[in-house]
């Protein structure tokens, strides 16, 4: 079906280190002592908590409802008791805390009632809603919700299933494809139907021959329009735009997405999760995590989401000289600030790093403008220019050089002969630009609100003035008769004469107002003792009597 493959520009070939962990089958990790399930799946999306401390939950029970268009459901990964709902560190470069549900497992691992979901019988929206409530989101990179990526279901011709797994050390997708090829393809078929694509391309790097073979065997039972393609091993072939380029030859320009060209991309892990959600009615509760690096027993484990990294590491046995841990791969992963961080759906790998395996980078030296980074950049950028602008905090210029097309793959920093941590500069720049964007939105809003408040105050003032003027005019019109009724004969005599001067008019007005006030005063009588019931009146009388009595007693005592 595919006649030829294409190349993307740039890329690097780091040592792959895949064999350490790819040899052993996936091991089912034991039930952890406790689970910390964050109510935030990504920076963008949060979930509303549905449980209370002390509540018993079953495996797969909803504990969080996704909020906003990007939110997805959150579930208890095993049965047990909710211990607390408190902030815990999340798997993020900042190491900051986020609200999480802590569950103490009861050891029974009791499921909710699982019912397969027949997506063919319901509307497309309902099927997407089901995936959303099952908490299905991307398991490869950024963790974008699958129901959003499935979009409107029109205009997609090719579905790309990403099994490239181009980062060194990671082998979780490799093992998944080797052991659960049928499940992955079944998920891919569901995704294809939901997105309305014609053909499915599964891209796998050619350093995983076993996975390619298993996937091909499974695909041969399905049909012609599913192709498993071996792509050349070159980091970052697993990048979405790069894989699409290699498989289809489409070069996605700046500011566009694959969907604009009829291509959508999902990770193999996501496809497998979709398969479990639809055919088994299981929400996303576990994933395969590679434990590798400086450990005694590297390998892949099926881990419940929410398992804390510290507990997980015991399975692999980190060696004594391990000095830090990396979540994700060595090129794009983040260094863990705390081992209390829980495994999430995007946690594909945890690498124990030692100074021998990952020597500390040599000191940063000045850029010599050799251009190596531009040759290595798979996004066709000029990292050295971006570096200058980022370093000088000239963010406008950095954006002009398409900073936001940078996928932070780390190729530039990998090849830099001056050992400049280029990606750190780009991340810094992006963060600053986003912060400015937020500030600008906030200040625009403040300006609009301030201007509206001023307008409102002006309007109120004008309305009040108009009301006063109208009232004054009314009084003036009624003046003769008002004066006559209020001030008696003497004033009437004055008013009867034509209002000769404004002095007289003012006097008459004052007199009228005085008369009105007097009248009002006379009309006012204490109101709260009117129309009382007989009981209350009796009570009042009793109180009065008591008071009277005491007064007389006091009076008797004083002399």
């Amino acid at each position: 079906m595919i006649s030829r493959l294409f190349n993307f520009r740039g890329g690097v070939k780091p040592e792959s280190h895949k064999t350490e962990s790819s040899g052993t089958p996936i091991d089912q990790a034991p039930l952890p002592k406790r689970l910390v399930i964050p109510l935030r799946q990504s920076i963008r999306s949060t979930a509303r908590c549905l449980v209370e401390p002390g509540q018993k939950v079953l495996k797969g029970e909803h504990i969080g409802q996704g909020e906003g268009s990007l939110g997805t459901g959150v579930h208890a990964s095993t049965s047990g008791t909710v211990v607390e709902i408190a902030p815990y560190p999340m798997a993020h470069a900042s190491g900051l805390e986020t609200l999480s549900v802590v569950i103490a497992p009861d050891g029974e691992d009791r499921w909710i009632d699982r019912v397969p979901f027949d997506y063919r019988k319901v509307s497309r929206e309902e099927a997407l809603g089901w995936l959303r409530s099952c908490g299905i989101h991307g398991m490869g990179g950024a963790g974008f919700p699958t129901h959003v990526k499935l979009g409107s279901g029109t205009g997609i011709d090719t579905l790309v299933i990403n099994g490239a797994e181009c980062e060194p050390w990671i082998t979780c997708d490799d093992r998944l494809m080797r052991e659960r090829a049928a499940g992955v393809l079944s998920g891919a078929m569901i995704l294809r139907e939901l997105i309305g694509a014609r053909r499915v391309l599964v891209g796998i790097e050619d350093n995983k021959p076993d996975a390619i073979e298993r996937m091909r065997a499974a695909a041969s039972t399905i049909g012609d329009d599913v192709a498993v393609v071996a792509v050349p091993t070159l980091y970052p072939a697993g990048g979405e735009k790069q894989l699409i380029r290699v498989l289809t030859g489409i070069e996605i320009p700046q500011g566009k997405f694959g969907t604009d060209f009829g291509v959508q991309c999902f990770n193999v892990g996501t496809a497998h999760a979709v398969h479990r959600a639809i055919h088994f009615g299981e929400p996303l509760l576990s994933r395969i995590v590679t434990l590798t690096g400086n450990v005694a027993h590297p390998g892949n484990h099926e881990v419940l989401l929410g398992t804390q990294v510290a507990e997980l590491l015991a399975l692999a046995g980190p060696k004594a000289d391990t000095d830090r841990y990396i979540m994700g791969g060595p090129m794009m992963g983040i260094e863990l600030q705390s081992l209390g961080v829980p495994v999430t759906a995007t946690t594909n790998c945890i690498i124990a790093a030692s100074p021998t395996l990952f020597p500390p980078p040599p000191p940063e030296q000045p850029c010599i403008r050799c251009g190596e980074c531009a040759r290595a950049c798979p996004a066709d950028l000029q990292p050295f220019e971006l570096y200058w602008f980022s370093r000088a905090k000239n963010f406008g210029k950095a954006q002009e050089y398409h900073l936001f097309d940078c996928i932070e793959c780390g190729c530039c920093a990998y090849v830099c002969p001056s050992h400049i941590p280029l990606v750190d500069y780009f991340r810094f720049s992006k963060g600053e630009i986003w912060a400015r964007e937020r500030e600008r939105t906030a200040s625009d809003q403040a300006r609009a609100r301030f201007e509206f408040r001023n307008f409102r105050q002006e309007r109120e003032k004008a309305e009040k003035a108009a009301k006063l003027a109208a009232k004054a005019a009314e009084t003036r019109a009624k003046l003769p008769e008002a004066a006559a009724t209020a001030a008696g004969t003497a004033a009437a005599a004055v008013a009867a004469e034509p209002a000769a001067s404004p002095e007289d008019l003012k006097k008459a007005l004052v007199a009228a107002a005085l008369a009105r006030a007097k009248q009002q005063k006379a009309a006012v009588t204490p109101k709260n003792t009117d129309s009382l019931s007989a009981e209350t009146q009796a009570e009042i009388a009793a109180i009065d009597a008591r008071r009277e009595k005491r007064n007389t007693q006091d009076a008797d005592k004083t002399p």
Binding site: L96, R391, D444, Q445, A446, R447, F452, R453
Partner: protein, 183 residues
């Protein structure tokens, strides 16, 4: 001679009409410079510059009545941007107008609030809700941190709380590490 005068008059009339039309058709409402300055100012509407809001201050800068270093919330960066825009020298923030502080939002101690509505009237962006003799509260996402509500409160129940860093607002740090001299 007459032809020349007629031609010149004709040209004058035509050009005059064109200019007159253009002055109506392409009339710029307001002063574009004021808008540009206003866009740089942080819109806290705090009045620390001595003017009742960011727009009046922008007007004053444009008229040459005010200096560019009178806005503490805008800080050094604001001054730099204004200097860039107006082609002036960057100068340090004027001390009499205040100091640059981390962004904070007002918080009302709801146990103490007596519901006097004074803070509601003081708020330049209508970010405080409440009614007479009812508890008031600050709508934090709308608060600009101008501190104008703090002074009017008769029971001192409003405090300024610096904004904590969250996962949404966290930023990667500048990777350049300045060398520290050995103490």
């Amino acid at each position: 001679m007459l032809t020349a005068i007629l031609i010149m008059t004709g040209i004058a009339i035509v050009l005059g009409a064109a200019l007159g039309y253009a002055s109506i058709r392409f009339k710029v409402a307001g002063d574009p410079l004021v808008e540009k300055i206003d866009a740089i100012l942080p819109q806290t509407q705090c009045g620390q510059c001595g003017y009742p809001g960011c727009k009046p201050y922008a007007q004053a800068i444009s008229n040459g009545e005010a200096d560019i270093n009178q806005c503490p919330p805008g800080g050094e960066e604001g001054i730099r941007k204004l200097a860039d825009l107006l082609g002036r020298e960057v100068k340090p923030l004027s001390e009499e107008h205040g100091t640059e502080k981390p962004k904070s939002v007002a918080r009302i101690d709801e146990q103490v609030c007596i519901g006097c509505t004074l803070c509601i009237q003081a708020c330049p962006v209508d970010a405080i809700v409440g009614a007479a003799k009812q508890m008031h509260t600050v709508v934090a996402p709308l608060c600009t941190g101008c501190e104008l509500c703090v002074a009017p409160c008769p029971v001192d129940c409003i405090s300024m709380a610096p904004l904590a860093e969250t996962v949404e607002t966290w930023k990667w740090k500048y990777p350049v590490h300045e060398l520290r001299s050995a103490a």
